[in-house]
């Protein structure tokens, strides 16, 4: 369960809401039900699409199909099996490595680009911002297809470069470089998306802080570390959170690459691909549900650690004070 996200105004802008200390921002009307008019429709679909499948998945994971053709309750046996299943660990290890290598690289690039756009030392900001954001709009299927062709050492870009340079570049679609190849595709797709999350946060930092920093004689790097980075704490957390979830859910890119390099990508390449194949090629729905729930739990543990290193539920975090509050 996420906790600090409840401090919403801090998460998005890293700043307290205007007037948050002065008066409550929500209408304190008598406790009535009219809010449900607005929340009800969303919740109805939400229950059907998310809550019900979640409950059903938990139910499924506690049963097992018997040969006789019935379901029998087996308690946590499926989980015990998953925890000792080398295929599950293989995929899990792979996405964990991916998380610790690809995500920092991607977020680092995104942060660099966002700071560059915000630095006032760059021209054509719109052009850069749009072009770098554009890959986000490209469907994953198409992104994998483009890169897959370009990776080709037969007649792809790699082949052209080999001809040009006169020596052999490493094969992207080989065992040793496969994760790099996938990491590059994912980075290409999402670097602009994360950049925009950071950039929006930077735009929201009050001008007065920069003026104050300038008076104090802070240089550009001091400004970045003392004002900009603390100022986008919320966006940094959000982007990290989404990237962690994305890493554990890795599916599209390897699944599509299987079409191009079928012998490289196993049927248990990531936990998600494993669960998918267990269900749809093996009809082992109960075991697949246990695998899915386990990887969901592990994701949530990582997400929780990442988003709230120091916080507890409903605890107001200290945050930058705005000039307005000082006034």
């Amino acid at each position: 369960m996420t906790t600090s996200a409840l401090n919403t105004e801090l998460v998005v802008t890293g700043q307290p809401k205007r007037g948050s200390t002065l008066k409550p921002r929500t209408t304190h009307r008598r406790r009535d039900w009219s809010g449900w008019i607005f929340v009800g429709p969303f919740m109805a679909v939400f229950v059907l699409v998310l809550i019900a499948p979640l409950v059903y998945a938990i139910y499924l994971s506690l049963f097992r199909e018997t040969l006789v053709g019935g379901n029998s309750f087996v308690g946590l046996e499926n989980y015990a099996q998953a925890l000792t299943d080398p295929k599950f660990w293989d995929g899990l290890l792979r996405v964990t490595i991916f998380l610790f290598v690809q995500v920092p690289i991607m977020l680092g690039l995104s942060l660099f680009v966002a700071l560059a756009l915000d630095s006032m030392r760059l021209r054509w900001v719109s052009l850069f911002r749009l072009s770098i954001f554009l890959p986000y709009a490209v469907p994953g299927v198409v992104a994998v297809m483009i890169w897959g062709y370009m990776y080709g050492s037969q007649f792809g870009l790699i082949a052209d470069l080999n001809d040009l340079l006169g020596f052999k570049l490493p094969e992207p679609l080989s065992n040793s470089f496969l994760m790099v190849a996938i990491g590059n595709i994912v980075t290409w797709e999402f670097v602009g998306y994360n950049m925009l999350i950071f950039y929006s946060g930077l735009k929201a930092i009050p001008q007065e802080l920069y003026e104050a920093a300038e008076i104090d004689g802070a240089g550009p790097f001091r400004t970045i570390f003392s004002i900009k980075l603390p100022g986008i704490r919320g966006p940094l957390i959000i982007a990290t959170l989404f990237s962690i979830i994305g890493s554990f859910q890795l599916f599209n890119e390897p699944q599509m690459l299987r079409a191009i390099a079928p012998n490289l990508i196993t049927s248990y390449f990531t936990p998600n691909i494993y669960a998918f194949n267990l269900s749809f090629s093996g009809s082992m729905f109960n075991y697949a549900a246990a695998i899915a729930i386990l990887s969901g739990i592990i994701t949530m543990v990582f997400a929780f650690i990442a988003q709230n290193p120091e916080g507890f539920a409903f605890k107001k975090k200290k945050s930058m004070s705005t000039v307005e509050e000082q006034a």
Binding site: E9, L122, Y149
Partner: protein, 316 residues
């Protein structure tokens, strides 16, 4: 450009005039051109950023260049430039007619999924985000906790039970199996909620209530206009997500008559590499281009509103 841009951007912030607060004069201007923080462009930064721009754009250029090649040239020419006859329109013609024009059908399906799915998602998220921001009601805490918890649950972990549940409801292999799950956007709800808390003054709602307006009428005649920037931001995200959705339709649909573009394309791409099927690489590449163009266009058109969508909380 950048500073001028930020000035125009601040213009998209929600106007407080409706609430009787005269804001613009009091609001601190964003950094102005020629202001104290504006310096000369840095060569190093420009070079690094140009490299980054090329990294992001070159693959798309590859797509355009190769969609305009004949199959023969695809294999026998430098892949980052045009070669041979300009075969783009030829290829497009082939894509549209291949397999009895199934591509056109997929295109129509995708449009339908996006209009109903993303439109529905935006409407539901806007209503709910607003409700959470502006109302106290029994069960609010629980709703918040459940939604925020759900953001952390990997959606794909639920795909298999979702499929089983939908097949019990006899919805699999129908458009509904794609549309209904698309209508939930927890992230969209979250954006609207943060924005509404800030952009809609309570005084405004109270005044309308005193005038005797019903809650729904207040929403549609007053709040909705205030929420427009957030709504368009959410629309942008849900449109992109629905258009690019692959995993969900892959699981839910077995009949290719209902495929969206993404699943159809991947089927063509697999046919290109599998044995016994006809390889159609030039069609896959051209069809990919046709898949990207509409969404990229819509995206570029809508993205301008993103700025105001996410930094809303900081409007001063």
């Amino acid at each position: 450009m950048s500073a001028a841009e930020s000035v125009t951007r601040s213009g998209t912030a929600p106007s407080r005039l409706a609430s009787g607060q005269v804001a613009p004069a009091a609001r601190t201007p964003k950094r102005k051109p020629g202001g104290s923080r504006h310096q000369r462009a840095s060569v190093t930064l420009t070079v690094l950023m140009t490299a980054m721009l090329l990294y992001c754009v070159v693959p798309l250029f590859w797509l355009i260049a190769n969609a305009s090649k004949t199959r023969d040239k695809l294999y026998n020419s430098f892949s980052l430039w045009f070669a041979g006859d300009f075969a783009l329109f030829d290829n497009i013609g082939k894509v549209l007619t291949y397999n009895d024009g199934i591509f056109v059908r997929w295109f129509g399906n995708t449009i339908m999924y996006v209009v109903v799915g993303a439109g529905g998602a935006t409407l539901l998220a806007t209503l709910a985000g607003y409700g959470l921001a502006k109302y106290r009601f029994p069960g609010r805490r629980l709703v918040l906790a459940v939604i925020l918890g759900a953001i952390a649950v990997p959606m794909t972990a639920l795909a298999v039970p979702q499929f089983l549940l939908f097949s019990k409801l006899q919805l699999t292999n129908t458009p509904w199996s794609v549309i209904i799950p698309s209508m939930v956007s927890a992230f969209g709800l979250y954006l609207v909620w943060v924005y509404a808390a800030e952009a809609i003054p309570d005084e405004l709602l109270e005044a309308a209530r005193l005038d005797g307006a019903s809650e729904l009428r207040i929403f549609f005649s007053i709040s909705l206009r205030q929420l427009a920037p957030a709504l368009i931001t959410v629309l942008m995200f849900t449109v992109v997500a629905t258009w690019n959705n692959y995993f969900l339709p892959l699981i839910m649909l077995s009949d290719q008559q209902w495929y969206p573009l993404t699943v159809g394309l991947s089927q063509w791409a697999s046919a290109s590499s599998s044995i016994g099927a006809e390889a159609i690489p030039e069609l896959v590449i051209t069809a990919s281009l046709l898949t990207v163009i509409p969404i990229a266009g819509a995206f570029l058109y809508l993205q301008r509103y993103w700025q105001s969508g996410l930094s809303a909380g900081s409007v001063k």
